[in-house]
């Protein structure tokens, strides 16, 4: 369901609660825990990524999140060498390239709700022409059947030696 806004409205609209849905939801289930939240942004323009990194780091610091590291993976350039002319003239080509710059922000030890809020804020303010990939590393409790080692509990098996 999408909502049509009227002509000339400001883009960053105020988030309203629709009907009687509360903005804050409380549940008894334990919150998911994330060991690492990795946000990779890609774009064509390095200056845009610089300013977005500043914004994301500032937002994380204001929210009190622990930042593991912020680094810049090497850029990738895709080059195409095409024929310059429509017909014939094989020796004359034209070259195009598409550059992708990256920036990675890694946060550690987040809860699920914190991660959701942070990611929503970050993604709502993602600039045009920039793509984002998010990887979350979840911490789960070890299942019960493998919590204790079994090499004391199994019955002793008699070893049979084959004499050939």
């Amino acid at each position: 369901m999408w909502i049509q806004f009227s002509l000339g409205t400001d883009l960053h609209t105020v988030f309203q609660s629709y009907g009687n849905m509360p903005l804050v939801s409380i549940s008894d289930e334990p919150d998911t825990l994330y060991r690492r939240l990795s946000v990779l942004v890609k774009g064509h323009d390095k200056a845009v990524l610089d300013s977005y990194e500043y914004f994301a780091v500032l937002a994380a610091e204001e929210l009190g999140l622990s930042i593991e590291k912020v680094y810049e993976p090497p850029r990738k350039i895709e080059r195409m060498t095409l024929l310059k002319s429509v017909h014939v003239y094989k020796k004359h080509r034209v070259q195009y390239e598409m550059r992708t710059y990256y920036r990675c922000l890694e946060l550690k030890h987040l809860t699920g709700s914190t991660a959701n809020v942070y990611l929503e804020y970050i993604q709502r303010n993602l600039p045009e022409g920039v793509a984002m990939e998010v990887k979350k590393t979840k911490i789960e409790k070890l299942p019960e059947h493998i919590q204790k080692p079994i090499w004391g509990t199994l019955p002793q098996v008699e070893e049979t030696v084959n004499e050939s």
Binding site: W2, I3, Q4, F5, L7, G8, T9, L11, K42, G43, H44, D45, K76, E78, M98, T100, Q123, R124, L126, P127, E128, G129, V130, A131, M132
Partner: protein, 110 residues
């Protein structure tokens, strides 16, 4: 995923479809061509420059600069007409950001 497309005055930002391991470049091109033709046909003679199309997470934002040739009521009608029709075509919210200028835009005096 948010995207931006062509801007006039020689400054080009392409949609995220052209980034490494991103999809959808061809669809964006087709959409953009259609939207430009549609806008050119709706606002005949009053577009001061090429429209700027931006996409932010499913919302399509069209930034237009118009000349002040028509009465404002006609411009309002055309603007809401384009908004509703384009949002019905592409099934996404389409916002129009209009600006009017008295004369032709000048980028540089030589």
């Amino acid at each position: 995923m948010s995207k931006i497309f062509l801007c006039s005055a020689g400054f080009v930002i392409s949609p995220t479809g052209n980034l490494d391991s991103e999809e959808g470049a061809a669809e964006r091109v087709v959409e953009d061509v259609f939207i430009r033709c549609f806008l050119y046909g709706t606002f005949v003679g009053i577009m001061a420059q090429e429209p700027v199309l931006k996409r932010r997470a499913n919302v399509l934002i069209v930034c237009l600069v118009l000349l002040q040739n028509m009465t404002p009521s006609k411009i309002y009608f055309l603007a809401s007409y384009t908004e509703t029709l384009l949002s019905h075509f592409y099934k996404c919210p389409v916002k129009l950001e209009l600006q009017t200028v008295p004369g032709a835009l000048v980028y540089k005096y030589l």
